[in-house]
């Protein structure tokens, strides 16, 4: 079920009420291939003479690598290449922009392959390429590694302690006024503040404070990391890989291996889920290095165990939230502290978590302090709205308790303190064109919100925010000789971008959607685009597509004017045809097919390419309401009903937008109820498989209702805002708040697993 709630007057430039395709629900252009198994994913490609690549991983969470002896493995028949950290160049300790944001190249390379130290259980130490999987496995067993096992630390607060084992001798806490003299696991401290915190709390009638923690969770994509790489004897490379960005793969491989980017051609495979976790490299540089040594193509596919142990989860965290409010619910102060596990290298999403923590609220006095803390666990990777769900869990749980303390309706409390157009966001800038109030109202007025509840049932509300981004993007539109069109972009299709790109082009060109074919091209066939992430593709790449199609329309008008013998200003483009506006001339309309057939006589092939750096992505807000029932005997939580409202700007393809919202909710429910990395005392993950690390399946969830609130983004030609990340922000707290309602007790530690709930019930 879905509703669309529109503001009466849209300010989107092209949304004049006459849209034919944008806003409709055509079938997906990639659908047939995917449901018939023809779509090629990362592991599907096979090449003649291809070898199997496998990785030797550290059994220890923290160990100095004394030596690696590969002689026995090299002597094994069928082994064609073996690499270790010594096969990679030393990289500078500097940040380089490749994906969406800068990465430290040295850390990236050391995460791909360890050198002096193994920093987590699962850290890559060596890799082999062999003629079969069995030979590769045997070769791994013959590699002799001598370790000096070091003390390890997993928990974030333990890693912050003065006596904690230090992971990096040269890591000094950043963000302090004076550089520390002693290395630390605290990579960075960040702070955002406004007003006078003490005065704000002094002004409050009610103060609520609590501590919260969340477990590390994995993005849980079904498709493991996989690639095929081939380096020819002249140094020219080809990579086929499942990722969120073929250009990101190209850049990182070029940097890690110190080869020219133009020598690497990356072809994007279909992607079986990424959710931020495929915004970096793990296997691709290894496969290229193995191919370089062996002279043959190399395929590498992670096992599920490797995905969990060696690719990025998101952070575990510990938070404290303190809120002050007047008796009428007006927030006067907020004090938030966030401690985030970064894994083996700095770079947790604590910065974004800090910026989003209070973004839904207009609070005069606040302080948000965040800590980025390295631990002997896999380096975290982005996960949908990185960091925001975590801080929202703390803040929205506290807001729920504050509403209970004040005797206020939870939505009324949020409405009273909501940001609006003109409000200065907690992270600085002034909000413009936001639809938060409308989104709150959409849930308040939804039948779900007033539906009766039964015994052992509870209802929770939570809100969430994400910035959304734009960025560098390229799109090309080419017209075939029969007047059909191809739309070529450089972004893997994760959430339906093929459909939305084709729809925007079709809308501008005036073609039926069936006549527009979207293509995701390799890095040599289209200009650069940032990766698919940050909820940017429909917004930013869509802007490039629209401009490319508009450029073609201008060219078509020029060509039509030539053929009609009229001036170009007498030609308009109306629903796919050139029309002479001077009816006295009696000129017949010329369709796109007519003009394409005569392209040779009017200037040659018809096509255009636009490259731009899209700015002005509108921020998104979500408001969720969740009903649960808790079984008091077992502590099991059943999600009874879930409704999510979100300001989406303009839904280009509403079914995909609904899918994004529903997918975000499903992942958030898993994060709230089941998912967690469980480590033994030796720092080894105990549940590295989907049997023991339980993501929600269809039978765990009800139909997730969506309400799309459309407050147009004036910077996008059709008013679109990013939609993919906001929906994972509220569910953690929405579920926790519903459980609070069901059992009458506040649960502050995720996941809300049955044993924890039983313990809370039993505690009386």
């Amino acid at each position: 079920m879905s509703d669309v709630l529109e503001r009466p007057a849209s300010s989107a430039p092209l949304d004049d009420g006459r849209l034919k395709i944008v806003g409709t629900r055509p079938i997906r252009p990639d659908g047939v291939d995917k449901v018939t198994g023809r779509a090629l994913y990362g592991a599907d490609l096979a090449m003649p003479g291809m070898l199997v690549g496998k990785v030797l991983r550290s059994p220890h969470p923290h160990a100095r690598i004394v030596s690696i002896d590969t002689r026995k493995a090299r002597a094994l028949p069928g082994v064609k290449a073996i690499i270790t950290g010594a096969d990679f160049p030393e990289l500078a300790d500097e940040e380089y922009e490749a994906g969406e944001s800068a990465s430290n190249l040295r850390d990236l390379a050391l995460n791909v392959m360890a050198r002096d130290k193994a920093l987590y259980n699962g850290h890559a130490l060596a890799a082999v390429a062999a003629t079969s999987s069995a030979v590769a496995d045997e070769a791994l067993s013959l590699i002799e590694v001598v370790y000096e096992v070091l003390p390890h630390v997993v928990a974030v607060e333990a890693a912050m302690a003065d006596d904690a084992p230090v992971l990096h001798d040269k890591l000094f806490t950043g963000g302090l006024k004076e550089k520390p003299t002693k290395a630390s696991n605290i990579a960075k401290r960040n702070e955002i503040k406004r007003g006078d915190l003490a005065a704000g709390f002094a002004e409050a009638d009610v103060i609520f404070e609590s501590r919260y923690d969340t477990a590390a969770t994995h993005q849980g994509y079904i498709e493991p990391h996989a690639c095929v790489a081939s380096m020819a004897s002249d140094g020219q490379c080809q990579v086929w890989s499942s990722s969120q960005g073929q250009f990101m793969i190209r850049t990182y491989c070029a940097k890690v291996l110190d080869i020219d980017a133009s020598s690497i051609r990356v072809t994007p495979a279909e992607i079986g889920g990424g959710f931020g976790g495929k915004t970096t490299v793990y296997l691709e540089p290894l496969a290229l290095a193995l191919s370089r040594q062996s002279g043959a193509p190399v395929k590498m596919v992670m096992t599920r165990d490797e995905v969990f142990r060696a690719s990025g989860p998101t952070s575990a965290s510990v938070m404290t939230v303190r809120l002050g409010a007047k008796a009428d619910g007006t927030l006067t102060a907020a004090d938030v502290e966030l401690k985030f596990q970064a894994g083996a290298f700095p770079g947790s999403p604590v910065g974004a978590a800090s910026m989003t923590a209070l973004a839904c609220y207009d609070i005069p006095n606040f302080s948000i302090v965040g800590y980025d803390v390295v631990t002997n666990t896999p380096k975290v990777a982005a996960y949908r709205a990185p960091g925001a769900p975590i801080s929202a869990f703390g803040v929205e749980s506290a807001m729920d308790d504050l509403a209970l303390t004040l005797g206020m309706d939870p939505i009324a409390l949020r409405e009273k303190n909501a940001v609006h157009d003109g409000t200065k966001a907690s992270y600085g800038p002034t909000f413009r064109n936001i639809g938060y109030a409308e989104t709150l109202e959409a849930i308040r007025s939804h039948p779900h919100y007033s539906a009766p509840l039964g015994p052992n049932q509870g209802r929770g509300v939570a809100v969430g925010f994400w910035f959304n981004v734009g960025g560098e993007s390229t799109a090309a539109v080419n017209i075939a000789e029969d007047g059909t069109a191809m739309v070529i972009t450089g972004n893997p299709d994760i959430g339906g971008s093929r459909a939305s790109m084709a729809m925007m082009a079709a809308e501008v060109l005036g073609l039926p959607i069936e006549k527009v074919r979207p293509i995701v091209a390799d890095t040599a066939s289209i200009g650069f685009s940032m990766l698919t992430g940050g909820s940017r593709t429909t917004f930013a790449v869509g802007m490039a597509v629209t401009q490319a199609a508009q450029k073609i329309v201008e060219d078509l008008k020029r060509r039509a004017a030539l053929l009609m013998d009229v001036s170009v200003d007498q030609v308009d483009w109306i629903y796919g045809a050139a029309v002479c506006t001077d009816v006295s001339k009696g000129k017949a309309d010329l369709s796109l097919a007519d003009l394409a057939a005569k392209s040779g006589q009017t200037g040659g092939p018809i096509g255009s390419q636009i490259s731009l750096n899209a700015q002005g992505a509108g921020p998104g807000f979500g408001v969720h309401v969740c009903d649960v029932e808790v079984d008091p005997e077992t502590g099991h939580v059943t999600i009874l009903r879930y409704t999510a409202a979100q300001d989406v700007g303009k839904a280009i393809h509403p079914s995909y937008v609904e899918g994004q919202i529903q997918g975000g909710v499903a992942q958030g429910v898993g994060w709230a109820l089941n998912e967690e990395y469980v480590f033994d005392t030796g720092g080894v993950m105990e549940n590295a498989g989907f049997l023991d690390y339980r993501v929600p399946v269809a039978s765990d969830l009800p139909m997730i209702d969506t309400v799309m609130v459309e407050v147009a983004n004036p910077r996008h030609p059709f008013g679109a805002k990013g939609v993919g990340e906001v929906p994972i922000v509220p569910p953690l707290a929405a579920v926790a708040n519903a459980v609070r309602g069901a059992i009458g007790k506040r649960m502050t530690s995720l996941p809300l697993s049955p044993p924890k709930i039983r313990a809370a019930i039993d505690a009386g």
């Binding site: 994906g99 960040n190 993005q219 909000f431 413009r432």
Partner: protein
């Protein structure tokens, strides 16, 4: 002239306790150059690590974005996503 506000602690390593500036600048690049002149190293830090919100709209890598005399400019960390 545009009013520039530093909203994160990483910038204070360059500016100390100063968090707001009035800068004579018609574009983002001119603003960055002027801040680099006042606080050596700060300009490079902005270019590499900061997004720039101009009158509420967040820009990344937009050196030539125009600034109005009354523009409100916030320097915030660059934003990625998942």
């Amino acid at each position: 002239m545009p009013h520039v506000v530093v909203a994160c602690s990483s910038c204070r390593a360059f500016t100390g306790d100063v968090t707001t500036f009035d800068v004579e600048a018609a574009t983002v690049r001119e603003m960055i150059r002027e801040l680099e002149r006042r606080y050596p190293g700060f300009g490079e830090h902005i270019e590499r690590k900061m997004a720039i919100a101009i009158d509420g709209e967040i820009h990344q890598d937009a050196l030539f974005e125009p600034l109005r005399a009354e523009s409100e400019v916030y320097l915030i960390p660059k934003i990625g996503g998942g």
